[in-house]
Symmetry: D2
């Protein structure tokens, strides 16, 4: 690291995969989630609860998302929990609620799929399928969602290198599904006072290496509600194409991740701040009329 | 991480040290470096070469710093190099050049001190003393700079937890020197495509736990010139009180860290972007008149 | 870490899961793989190629395994490869070859299963199912193999804490499958001169917390053939119940992991050394007659 | 890592430094500490308390070390403590006690030096100087101990790569001091149930790259007394030239690191086990007569 390499712009130490890599096409990939474009000039905010818990919870939280200016609703029906004794999600019931609330609010929905056998099922209800951090190395699942014709939200493994992350995307892309959004959500390091270490340098690095949209999850990336706004602002300033954040109409009663979910009012305030940052760097975030 | 802890704002798993901690005093610490205030509403930019190489190099780079809007000049006279066969700095000669260029440009200077025996010497020439990442755990040095009456720039060890970082500051503070600025400069993780992983969550965390100013070094934090602007913007958006960046009038000829040093023109452009972000979050960066 | 806690034998910072934990039963679990006992006084060596490549390759490598004193044959039919462009394994053809060579040599076989939809298929051919490092967090797969009545070799995720590793085992155990062997195979750290950092302290820690057998994979743990013997010896000395090692009759022609596979002669020599260490700590490794 | 590189024995990704590297001389370096040879066929055990606390404590602990078969006594006079509020050692008084007990027991002593200004002082009392983990990157100190004519025990930084470790040794060697012993003492990883992750693969790696003796510190490497014996055995089996271990005549009353210090009886039993392992791999550990 001591050479005076004034010219060499990047020496990342690995070969960028063919399809995911920059060279395969010149223009940026725009991923379209039921009409919402990710990867364009506008930064897209995805918000919603960690898990779908009930009709009321999802409806009220979706309304808060809409009010703040979110364009897509998130919510887990199948939850990958570290312990088998924790709440595992509502399953199909959760998928149905997501569809129902989507219809009522007009928000497209993204939800996680964990099992190759459930890909068709989940694709039948959701507008976008998420492959979670714990399954980024699950190549069977990556291949399966590569055969679906719905956009995929691929989260970086909590200890995956940038190279492995791009190769995971490549597993999806080379099955023919070109609609992939990459999501940085924090990596595991020695530091323990945050849940993970949010690696915001992944934003410029991934955008340097690939044309795929890159978003950030400051909720899992920090694990601390009060830290979410600062990191959300930083992610937008660093050039993220969007954010996925956990919000809840009653965080203190959430069945999971309540401690990192924003209150509805916090979310509205944060969205106003994010818009200002987006404009400062020449992008935008459209807020509900009147703002 | 699955409890619905709606209230508990922080559970960091350690006791915040007495003097460095928030509770010891109510107001934020303003560190004054020969008239320049760090920790106030204005974000302060420190810029300059990795190492002092010659009168011309330092003078031209200082002029570029001044032109961009930097308020303090950085430059290493004693360099902590991983290999004994790399350029070790100009030593006292470097200190003298720093003082000289400081006088000519009006920029206060910060430079690193590596040895307890040189603390008085360095304090005789510099306006601010830097304790580098590799010496953050060098408790003898921390105590020694704690007895100096000059402000200290304390860089986080590349392997140091937030707790250890605060305890290192405490070593300085409890010797009576209250003028300490904390600097996040990237931590070591499994990821190798960046030089370090810049932990921007350290900004809100440190500001949550202490009243000391917090700045960020995006140059060492990434090790890649083209990535510095994105991370500099993110750091300001996350609430940093300033930045320390490597710039060089001829990066391709630098004796060290040329690959991560900004060109003078890049620096000027970046400063304009940073000012916009600062304003978007209610702070400011004063640029040379006419901007 | 500075308390004079003379008595407190363990403060691991988490609750040991119910079934996997020590307290659920007093005696050690003996896992029986088609007649071979893992977890008793004898350390059991599993050896074979990374991937099944051909009848000849598998047969010749199995003979080398047998000659050295291995008790179980390993070999991948479905391979989890970081890149979609690398050899993905022979699939069902590989499973059939494993069964065939098992019949000819008398060695039970262990092979990896990657997809919930293939669990029954793999269980139809193999004596023991491996859940690989990349799938340790794949809870759907863990539940599925928990419903099989064949022993499971569960590898620690390269990014998994000891707590998460035990919780992954718990996912299998609480489906009713009590035949689980834990395998340390190296974790990801900042160090890059080895493929992973083999965490041998996991052996005493896991044996302290659970009654399940614990084995070690020094091949993936180091990624370097010449380093395998030293780490294999260390693992036995630390109390491992066995080892799983990659060997190949012609490593230089291997389709995967040739650089970390032992030559047949090296394997025979190593086994003699391992037996001496086993005896030194009061255990044993039975070698073919005449040794 | 998937190439079938059958021949390439090592690709470590960096250049081994000139003097520390294997190629500079053919024979192994034997470091002689007041008559005790480290690096020969016999594995050398260094034992003693974390810190010198009192005459009685040091004397009784030294007797326990001697009884178990230790050849060198360890004990800290200047202690690098993470917090300024923890016991910082007895200083010069501790050095004098070490010298005194050394004279009475015949055991050479090793103790840590933390400050360039104290190198001559410490060298006046100790037979071997330790540069601790926190100071491995303190190049001023490395240069200073390189000018002393006493053997140096250099501990690996808790987050130092093998390359950096060798370069730190090079700083000492190229000042003319060839008597350097390398010590692996655990690295910092994401795992938190042990104090550090003891990287035993450093033993074969360092011995592959350099002729310097390599020893291991299982006390700091695990932070858990009950885990020390397993890791000590593993280190000897992996080929370590010795061990440095914390023992205390009354661990429950120790002013520091009591939780990881062995009781005298445990130490004696462990030494018997270590001797068996040493013999199993063709080396030896000489125990007090009668054993």
């Amino acid at each position: 690291m001591d050479t005076n390499s004034g010219n060499n712009p990047v020496n990342i130490g690995f070969s960028v995969p063919v399809i995911a890599g920059h060279e395969s096409k010149k223009e940026k990939t725009i991923v379209i989630v039921n009409g919402v474009e990710i990867g364009g000039n506008e930064a897209v905010i995805i918000a919603g609860p960690c898990a779908v818990e009930s009709r009321e919870q999802l409806y009220e939280t979706a309304r808060a998302a809409l009010k703040g200016g979110a364009k897509i609703l998130r919510g887990g029906a199948f939850k990958p929990r570290t312990s088998p004794y924790k709440f595992q999600g509502l399953g199909i019931e959760g998928l149905k609620l997501l569809r129902e609330i989507s219809r009522e609010t007009g928000l497209p929905v993204v939800t996680e799929v964990m099992d190759t056998r459930q890909v068709d099922l989940v694709a039948g209800y959701a507008d976008m399928l998420q492959v979670g951090s714990r399954n980024m190395h699950n190549y069977s699942l990556l291949k399966e969602v590569g055969m679906v014709r719905k956009p995929i939200l691929l989260k970086r493994g909590m200890m995956a290198t940038i190279e492995e992350f791009l190769l995971a995307a490549e597993y999806i892309l080379n099955q023919g599904n070109t609609q992939v959004v990459l999501c940085e959500r924090g990596i595991r390091t020695f530091e323990t006072c945050t849940r993970n270490t949010l690696d915001l340098s992944a934003i410029p690095m991934l955008k340097h290496l690939t044309n795929l949209p890159v978003i950030v999850d400051p909720s899992h990336g920090t694990g601390l509600r009060w830290m979410v706004p600062a990191m959300a602002r930083a992610a937008i300033a660093a050039g993220a194409d969007g954010l996925i954040m956990e919000i809840h109409y009653k965080p203190e009663e959430a069945l999971c991740d309540g401690h990192q979910s924003l209150f509805p009012d916090e979310f509205v305030m944060l969205m106003n701040d994010l818009k200002k940052i987006a404009i400062a760097i020449g992008r935008d975030i459209t807020l509900p009329s009147g703002k």
